[in-house]
C-alpha cells in the first residue's frame, strides 16, 4: 500500500462552526500528525472555490486521502466525493468529520468544543489511512413492470408506463378493477361523479395492448433484485405463471375499518347505522331511505370511527371529514327538510379547495356537534315509542359543555382506513417494511415518498398511508416516472459498500441469513458457506456485526477502519484520563 498523504480541510460554515470552534487551532493541532500533508481552513468548503481548493491541493501536493471537517455527511458527503473523484482519487478515499451538528451546534464552551473537533478530526485521520478504493457497479434493467393492485393508483401507474410503450403486469386480488373509487358515488370537493371518472380508466387498462391484467390473482415467490425480478402469478389455474420484470409498484391500498368493534355505535345491532362505504351505495341507489323504506327526517354523521383513537388506530384517515361534508351536500340536495347532524371530533379540511368546501357546506343548515375522542364517544340507543325518532345519540358536546341527546333516524359512521389483513404477506414478498400503523414505509418521508429501501420497489396510493384521490394519482404518476427513467437508462447503479463473506472463515451457522433485513444473503450448500448478493445488499452492516466467526466484512466499514477510528477519537484529549 502506498504511504497515505492526507489533506485535512476545516470548514467555518460561516459562523456556524467558526463561532464555537477555533478552526485555526484545529488545523494547527492536526497539521503535525503523521501522514497529514496539509491542514487548511476555509469559510465554506462546499462552495465552488472550497471544492477547487481541494482539487488543486490533490494535484499539487499529490494527496491520496482527503478529510473535510464540516457538516453532517448526510448533507455534503456526496459533494466532496465527487470533488475528489474529479481530481483523480477514488471517492471512497475521502472521509468526513462532523464538527457542526455533533459539535458547534450543540455545545456552549468554545475551548471544549474545539477540543472535541480535534478529536473528531483525529478519528477521521486514523480511519482514512485504512480506506480502500471501491468500484461503482450497475445492473441492467428488464423493461417490464409488475403492478400489484388494480385500484386507481395501480391503474394510473400502469397506464403511465404502458403508454410509454413498456410492458406492465397488473395483478388484482378481486374480480374487478377500480378499487374503492369504483364504489363511490361522488367525489369531494367538486362533487363530480366517481364512476364517470374511474370507468374510462378501467376500460383503457383492460384494453391496453401493453397491460396484462390478472384478476383474482395473487403474486408469490418474488425473487431477484432491481432490474431483474421474477415472480409467480397464482390465479386458480393449476400451473402458476412465471413473470419477469425490472420494477415493482405496490398499490395494494387499504380497507374499511369494521365498526362493530365499537360497542357505543351499535353497528350490526341497529339496521339504520351504516358505514360510509355502505352509505355511498345508498346514495348511488338514488334515494336515501331507512331499512323500513322511510325517508329519514334526522340523519347523523359520526366522524373518526376507528381513527384518532388510543384503542383502535391513532392516525387520522385524512379523507373522511371531506367525505362527510360531501354526504351532507348530497343529503341536503335530496332531502331539503332533513335535520343533518355532523358529529365530529375535529374538522380537518386541508388540501386544495377543501377549506372552501367546508365553509360552503356550513351554509347547508347543518348542525355541527363536537365530541372529545379521548374523553367519551357518543352512544347510540334505541328511542322510546313516545319519541319522534328511531334512535337517540347521547353525547357530551364539547363546544357548549352540555350533555345532549340527538334524535336520529339514520346514522352514517365515517370509518377509518386500515391495512388489509394479508398486508404482511405482501410486504414480505416484495421486501418492504411496515410502520407501526402497518403502512408501507417509504425511503424518505419527504424527499423520496414513492421509493422504498428496496431498489426497484415503489409504493403508491393508500398502502403508504391514507390519502385522497389526487394524492394517490400524483404518487402513481411519480413512481411511473421513476421507473421509466431507470428503464430509459437501461441500467442502474447499485450499492458499493456491501458486505462479503470470507468463505474460509464461515462456519455455516446462517446467523447472517436470519438477521439480513434485505434477504440479500443465501447459503451455498456445496461450499457450506453464506454468500451475499451484492445487488440486494444495502451495506447496513447487520450481518457483519452478528457473524460469530468474523467471516463477514462490510466494505468501507471494516473492523480495521472502525477500530482505528475509535483509537483516533480516544487518543487526543482523553489521554490524560
Amino acid at each position: 500500500m502506498e504511504e497515505p498523504r492526507i489533506g485535512v480541510y476545516i470548514c467555518w460554515c460561516g459562523n456556524n462552526i467558526a463561532k464555537m470552534v477555533d478552526v485555526e487551532a484545529v488545523a494547527a493541532e492536526v497539521g503535525n500528525l503523521p501522514n497529514v500533508v496539509l491542514a487548511k481552513t476555509y469559510k465554506y468548503m462546499c462552495s465552488d472555490p472550497g471544492q477547487d481548493l481541494i482539487i488543486k491541493d490533490i494535484r499539487g501536493h499529490h494527496l491520496n486521502r482527503v478529510i473535510v471537517a464540516a457538516c453532517s455527511p448526510r448533507i455534503h458527503e456526496l459533494t466532496f466525493r465527487n470533488a475528489v473523484e474529479k481530481a483523480g482519487i477514488n471517492p471512497y478515499l475521502f472521509e468526513m468529520a462532523n464538527i457542526r451538528e455533533q459539535d458547534s451546534w450543540v455545545h456552549t464552551d468554545r475551548s471544549e468544543a474545539t477540543k472535541k473537533a480535534i478529536d473528531l478530526v483525529n478519528a477521521a485521520i486514523h480511519r482514512v489511512r485504512f480506506h480502500e478504493p471501491l468500484q461503482k457497479r450497475s445492473v441492467t434493467v428488464d423493461p417490464a413492470t409488475l403492478v400489484i393492485g388494480g385500484g386507481i393508483s395501480g391503474m394510473v401507474a400502469a397506464l403511465e408506463i404502458a403508454n410509454a410503450g413498456k410492458q406492465v403486469y397488473l395483478v388484482e386480488k378481486t374480480d374487478r378493477l377500480g378499487g374503492h373509487v369504483a364504489r363511490f358515488d361522488l367525489t369531494f370537493p367538486h362533487l363530480s361523479s366517481a364512476k364517470q371518472m374511474i370507468h374510462p380508466i378501467i376500460q383503457r387498462v383492460e384494453n391496453h395492448p401493453n397491460i396484462d391484467v390478472f384478476k383474482q390473482s395473487v403474486i408469490r415467490d418474488v425473487s431477484g433484485y432491481i432490474g431483474n425480478f421474477k415472480a409467480l402469478v397464482q390465479n386458480g389455474q393449476p400451473e402458476p405463471l412465471e413473470l419477469k420484470f425490472g420494477n415493482i409498484i405496490a398499490a395494494t391500498g387499504l380497507k374499511s375499518f369494521d365498526p362493530s368493534k365499537i360497542e357505543e355505535y351499535g353497528y350490526g345491532k341497529f339496521p339504520d347505522v351504516v358505514t360510509s362505504m355502505e352509505f355511498e351505495e345508498i346514495l348511488a341507489s338514488g334515494k336515501v331511505l331507512t331499512k323500513h323504506g322511510k325517508e329519514p327526517r334526522n340523519i347523523a354523521i359520526i366522524h373518526c370511527v376507528g381513527s384518532r383513537s388510543k384503542v383502535y388506530h391513532e392516525y387520522c384517515s385524512r379523507t373522511c371529514c371531506m367525505v362527510a361534508l360531501k354526504f351532507v351536500n348530497q343529503i341536503r340536495a335530496g332531502l331539503p327538510e332533513c335535520n343533518i347532524f355532523e358529529i365530529y371530533a375535529d374538522m380537518r379540511a386541508y388540501g386544495k379547495g377543501c377549506e372552501e368546501f367546508y365553509a360552503e357546506s356550513t351554509h347547508r343548515q347543518i348542525i355541527f356537534l363536537m365530541f372529545d375522542q379521548q374523553e367519551k364517544l357518543p352512544v347510540i340507543r334505541q328511542a322510546e315509542k313516545t319519541d319522534d325518532c328511531n334512535m337517540l345519540i347521547e353525547m357530551d358536546e364539547k363546544l357548549s359543555g352540555e350533555s345532549i341527546e340527538v334524535p336520529v333516524d339514520m346514522v352514517v359512521l365515517m370509518v377509518n382506513m386500515e391495512a388489509h389483513d394479508d398486508v404482511k404477506d405482501v410486504v414480505h414478498a416484495i421486501g418492504v417494511s411496515l410502520c407501526g400503523n402497518q403502512f408501507f414505509i417509504e425511503k424518505h418521508p419527504k424527499l423520496d415518498p414513492v421509493a422504498t429501501t428496496t431498489g426497484g420497489v415503489y409504493i403508491v396510493g393508500t398502502c403508504q398511508g391514507p390519502k385522497d384521490i389526487p394524492d394517490s394519482v400524483a404518487q402513481a404518476r411519480a413512481a411511473a416516472a421513476r421507473i421509466l427513467a431507470t428503464i430509459a437508462q437501461g441500467s442502474v447503479a447499485v450499492e458499493v459498500t456491501t458486505a462479503f463473506v470470507n468463505e474460509e472463515f464461515c462456519c455455516g451457522c446462517q446467523t447472517c441469513i436470519r438477521v439480513c433485513p434485505y434477504t440479500a444473503i443465501s447459503f451455498k450448500e456445496d461450499k457450506k458457506s453464506s454468500e451475499v448478493n451484492e445487488v440486494l445488499c444495502k451495506g447496513c452492516g447487520t450481518c457483519g456485526s452478528a457473524c460469530p466467526s468474523g467471516a463477514i466484512t462490510s466494505k468501507h466499514f471494516t473492523d480495521r477502519q472502525i477500530l482505528s477510528e475509535i483509537e483516533g477519537i480516544m487518543s487526543m484529549s482523553y489521554k490524560e484520563i
Binding site: 334526522n298 365553509a359 343548515q365 355541527f368 357548549s400 350533555s403
Partner: protein, 376 residues
C-alpha cells in the same frame, strides 16, 4: 341529564334577525376580542353554540346577550363573517319576546303588519281623544292668546286630564315591564335548581342596578367610546323629558312664557339636544352602514329611531309655536306629538327595542347575583 337538541328552534330564531349562524366554526376569536366577555359570562361564541344546537332552555336563561353592547369588534374580527354581534342583537330580540307574557312582543318583532297596525290604532285613538272626547267634555281649542302672547295650551289639553293619562300610561307600561323583569329573574336566577342567591346579596348589590341605569359603565368599556357618549346623551335627555312630563307636568306645560335661562326651558333644551344628537348618530349610522353595529337594521330598529325622532321634532314644534303665539300650529303639533309619543311608549317600552332600558341594567344586576350564587 341530557338535553334534547331542537333543530326546529332555528326557524323561530331567524325571524328575529339574520339567520346564517352556521357560518361560525367556534374559533373563539369573538370571545377573545370582546372587552366585556369575562370568566363565568363568556360570549358571544357560547351563545351562538346554543343557537346552533337549539338548546332553548339554556338560551332563555342566558343573561349574556344583555351584557353585550354591540361595539361590533367580534363581527369585524370573525374569520367566517358569521356576524356574532348581530347574532347577539337577534338573541336580545328573541329574549325580549320570551320575557313578554302577552305574546305581543313576538308579534311586533316578527310581523311588521301587527306593529304598524298597533301604532296606527293608538295614533287614531289619540286623534279621536283631541277632536271628539276632550271637546265633548268641554275642553275646546281657542285662538285667544295669553297676556304675554303665548298659546292657551290648557284649553284643549287640560293639565289635570293629561297628567292623569300620563300616570295611567306610565303605570301600564311599568306593570308590564316589571312583570317581564320578574320572568327574566325567574329564568336567569330562580330557575337554577342547583344554586341560590341570598336575600342579603340581593340588597347589597342593588346599587349596581341604579348605577348601570344612570351611567351604562359597561357600554363605556367597548373600544369605541363615542357610542357610549351619544347613547348617554340620548338616554339622559329622554329620562329628563320623561320625568318632567309624567311627574312635573304642571311645572312644564305652562301657558306663561318663561325667560330663556329659566330651568324649565334649559332642561327642555338640554333634553332636546341630547335626544337629537343621539338620534342623529343612530340614523346616519344606519343609513351609511359603515360601522358594523349599524350594518344590519331590523324593522324594529328603524321604527324605534323614526318614532323617537318624530316625537322629539313635534315636541320642538309645540314649543316654538307656543311661545310665538301660533295657536292652530300648536294645536296640530300637540296632537301629532301625542299621536307618535303614545304608541311609541306603549309599544316600544314594554314590547320592543326600548325595553332594553330595563333589561340591560337588570341584567348587570342579575349577573352580579349569579356571581354570588351558592350551591343549595
Amino acid at each position: 341529564m341530557s338535553v334534547r337538541v331542537q333543530p326546529e328552534l332555528r326557524n323561530q330564531l331567524i325571524q328575529f334577525g339574520i339567520g346564517d349562524w352556521n357560518a361560525c366554526y367556534h374559533c373563539g376569536t369573538c370571545t377573545a376580542i370582546c372587552p366585556l366577555s369575562e370568566e363565568g359570562f363568556l360570549f358571544p361564541r357560547k351563545k351562538i353554540r346554543l343557537m346552533q344546537m337549539g338548546l332553548k332552555d339554556q338560551l332563555e336563561s342566558s343573561v349574556e346577550p344583555w351584557l353585550c353592547y354591540y361595539c361590533g369588534d367580534c363581527s369585524k374580527t370573525c374569520p367566517r363573517d358569521a356576524n356574532p354581534g348581530e347574532l347577539m342583537m337577534s338573541l336580545r330580540r328573541y329574549l325580549t319576546s320570551k320575557y313578554d307574557w302577552t305574546g305581543l312582543s313576538k308579534k311586533f318583532y316578527t310581523s311588521e303588519v301587527w306593529e304598524l297596525a298597533f301604532i296606527l290604532l293608538f295614533a287614531a285613538l289619540v286623534v279621536i281623544a283631541f277632536l271628539v272626547i276632550l271637546p265633548s267634555m268641554g275642553y275646546h281649542f281657542t285662538k285667544e292668546l295669553t297676556a304675554d302672547g303665548g298659546v292657551k295650551v290648557n284649553s284643549f289639553a287640560p293639565i289635570h286630564i293629561v297628567e292623569i293619562f300620563d300616570w295611567t300610561m306610565a303605570g301600564v307600561v311599568a306593570t308590564l315591564l316589571i312583570s317581564n323583569i320578574l320572568r327574566m329573574y325567574y329564568q336567569i336566577i330562580w330557575k337554577k335548581s342547583k344554586t341560590k342567591v341570598s336575600l342579603w346579596v340581593h340588597i347589597r348589590e342593588f346599587w349596581l342596578l341604579i348605577f348601570n341605569f344612570a351611567v351604562q359603565p359597561k357600554f363605556s368599556k367597548c373600544d369605541d367610546k363615542r357610542y357610549w357618549l351619544s347613547h348617554w346623551l340620548l338616554m339622559s335627555g329622554y329620562t329628563i323629558m320623561f320625568i318632567v312630563i309624567v311627574v312635573y307636568l304642571p311645572w312644564f306645560q305652562t301657558e306663561k312664557i318663561y325667560p330663556v335661562w329659566h330651568p324649565q326651558r334649559l332642561l327642555g333644551y338640554y333634553a332636546t339636544i341630547g335626544l337629537l344628537f343621539g338620534l342623529g348618530v343612530a340614523i346616519i349610522g344606519r343609513l351609511v352602514r359603515k360601522d358594523v353595529k349599524f350594518q344590519f337594521s331590523h324593522v324594529s330598529d328603524w321604527l324605534f329611531v323614526i318614532m323617537l325622532t318624530l316625537t322629539a321634532t313635534t315636541g320642538i314644534l309645540i314649543h316654538v309655536f307656543r311661545i310665538n303665539g301660533m295657536p292652530v300650529a300648536t294645536f296640530i303639533s300637540y296632537i301629532a306629538h301625542m299621536a307618535v309619543l303614545v304608541p311609541m311608549i306603549l309599544i316600544e317600552v314594554p314590547f320592543s327595542k326600548w325595553s332594553h332600558l330595563a333589561y340591560r341594567p337588570f341584567a348587570v344586576y342579575f349577573a352580579q347575583l349569579k356571581k354570588y350564587a351558592v350551591p343549595k
